[in-house]
């Protein structure tokens, strides 16, 4: 039997400074996340330079804290993995330099991890899921359907033509005077709202192909808000707008899922699982609706716990473990990249 392997993971591609220690028995021994939300909140969005500065000043102690919580000495590590893209390059570089230097000191393999693959493979950590499966990755930077056939084996089935779903939430929250990040803010506000009061479009609904589009939805919301008059929105109207907007996104994704399942089945007739991952996957309304939509297609929905859907380093460490088992580790020369598509064009 293969001995336990232990990997340190590092994540710094957006506004979470994170380090985690995970082992090959799927135990998350530590999962430390320092959020920068308070720093970016005044700007209603992530400011890349501020994010990078914050990562540089906090990542070393984040790593130290993860190792302390895991009671893991350096000697117990088998590899160091870091998100090497896609993401905000200034932050990514802080993470990859840190990982490479730790690997150098302790003569460990370095593993450059694709952030999207880390989200896509999380259910293999949390639910022992086998390949293949269909993954819907939804976050502030990405919205895509991917057929996941193995480590490093992904086929893009559909992607957004404009904004990512999380980006749409952020923009809507800004418009409604809610907080940042927009997803949780809209979800909180939507809780007491009427999702059917304001009819909003369902972009691309019923159309063939699994692509998505959210910018028109945001524009529709702008028009609806404008029709409310010049006075500030009252709390009830704001809640109804948030609920209506959230429902539009959720219904759109449910409709697109139907198309994506068809495309997925053409590749993998025997596949039965849909994975929902990425920061937007923390949205409870989305989880509930897609669970039903997947069941309607004869599929089972698996969504990792919310804290492993938003950015974290446990998922990065997990990809490190998968790659270590594959023997596909990276050279210290491996570049960091702002853009790093998970898979080629639509099939």
């Amino acid at each position: 039997m293969e001995p336990d392997r232990v990997v340190l993971g590092i994540e710094s591609s957006c506004d979470e400074t994170a380090a985690a220690v995970v082992d090959s028995r799927r135990r998350i021994r530590a999962n430390v996340i320092l959020s920068q939300h308070a720093q970016h909140s005044p700007f209603r969005g992530v400011v890349p330079e501020l994010a990078a500065r914050s990562h540089a000043e906090r990542l070393d102690l984040t790593v130290q804290e993860a190792l302390r919580q895991a009671e893991c000495p350096w000697e117990a590590l088998d590899a160091v993995a870091a998100t090497a893209g896609p993401g905000l390059l200034g932050g990514v570089l802080v993470g990859t330099v840190t990982a490479k230097c730790i690997a150098l000191v302790h003569d460990l393999p370095y593993i450059a991890v694709n952030h999207l693959e880390a989200h896509a493979l999380t259910p293999r950590l949390t639910d022992c899921l086998d390949f293949p499966y269909l993954a819907l990755l939804v976050s502030g930077g990405h919205s895509q359907f991917v057929a996941v056939a193995g480590v490093g084996q992904h086929a893009l089935l559909g992607t957004t033509r404009d904004d990512a779903a999380g980006e749409a939430f952020d923009k809507a929250a800004r418009l409604l005077g809610l907080g940042f990040p927009g997803g949780p803010a809209i979800e909180r506000a939507a809780h007491d709202g009427d999702p059917d009061r304001f009819p909003l479009p369902r972009p691309l609904a019923g159309q063939a192909g699994a692509d998505m589009s959210f910018s028109g939805l945001k524009t529709a919301l702008v028009h609806v808000v404008a029709r409310q008059g010049a006075r500030p929105l009252d709390d009830g109207t704001r809640a109804d707008l948030a609920a209506s907007f959230q429902k539009a996104i959720v219904e759109t994704l449910a409709d697109r899922l139907e198309q994506a399942v068809r495309a997925f089945r053409r590749l993998h007739a025997a596949g039965t699982v849909v994975v929902l991952a990425g920061g937007v996957a923390a949205n409870q309304a989305l989880r509930a609706r897609l669970s039903g939509a997947a069941a309607d297609q004869g599929m089972r929905l698996i969504a990792p716990p919310a804290h492993l859907c938003t950015d974290n380093a446990a998922m990065v460490a997990w990809v490190g473990l998968e790659r270590l088992a594959d023997g596909t580790v990276s050279a210290l020369e491996e570049p960091s990249r702002a853009r790093w598509p998970l898979a080629g064009g639509s099939v």
Partner: protein
């Protein structure tokens, strides 16, 4: 005191190993961008060529800036990670100090020195030094046009990428345009002094970056704390 040092803050990448002030291995290359991805392989090769392991070292030294933001962060992140992983003290000196010593450590200056970096957007980063290298005042950022008011009178030696600009503004001074980035020797001399204070200690806290310029980010004029957010 045996230590590893590097400078990633300007458009050259320099790294080396030093024993006290003596450089025992060094490498410098032009590096307009991409310091971060180049640095770890370079340090690996330097250590291997010298036959050293991190356990043989007494410290890690880097430049703190000013310079390019990403370059500064690459060096800071590397120094912190190496210090943490090897349990070694990690510290830094300003790029301006290392620049001034690039001149001072090879020839007696005979006059005050100002290290000055072209910060772009019509601004300069600079710091003044006595002929022996003792700094006078803190590192500064100022528009080139008003830099004169921050400069003591008298003829000065000017080093760094902003030397010619500052000479034109002051109307005097001797630009040494051959000194544009810190030399390995200057890095060894300045970092040896900085690290000596920490000798024998493990990693406590990492060096802090010296950007001198804030991030370009202004909150929207109508920003207020969102409801329900602390």
């Amino acid at each position: 005191m045996l230590f590893l040092f590097f400078d990633t803050s300007l458009d050259r990448l320099s790294a080396g190993l030093a024993h006290e002030e003596q450089v025992i291995a060094e490498h410098s290359e032009d590096c307009p961008r991409g310091h971060a991805d180049r640095l770890a392989p370079l340090l690996r090769d330097l250590m291997a060529a010298a036959g050293l392991r991190f356990g043989d070292l007494d410290g890690i030294g880097c430049t703190l800036g000013p310079g390019t933001f990403t370059g500064i962060r690459s060096g800071i992140a590397a120094a912190r990670a190496l210090g943490l992983a090897a349990n070694l003290p990690a510290t830094g000196v300003t790029t301006l100090d290392a620049l001034a010593h690039t001149l001072i450590c090879v020839e007696p200056a005979g006059a005050p020195v100002t290290a000055v970096i072209d910060a772009r957007r019509g601004e300069l980063y600079f710091r003044h030094f006595r002929p022996d290298g003792t700094p006078v005042g803190a590192p500064l950022r100022a528009p080139a046009a008003s830099a004169k008011s921050h400069c003591p009178p008298g003829t000065r030696l000017l080093v760094g990428s902003g030397a010619a600009i500052l000479r034109d503004v002051l109307g005097c001074g001797l630009p040494r345009t051959d000194v544009r980035a810190p030399s390995p020797r200057a890095l060894a001399v300045t970092l040896n002094r900085a690290l000596r204070r920490h000798q024998g200690h493990g990693y406590i806290s990492g060096p802090k970056p010296l950007y001198l310029r804030p991030a370009d980010a202004t909150p929207p004029a109508d920003w207020r704390q969102p409801p329900g957010e602390a």
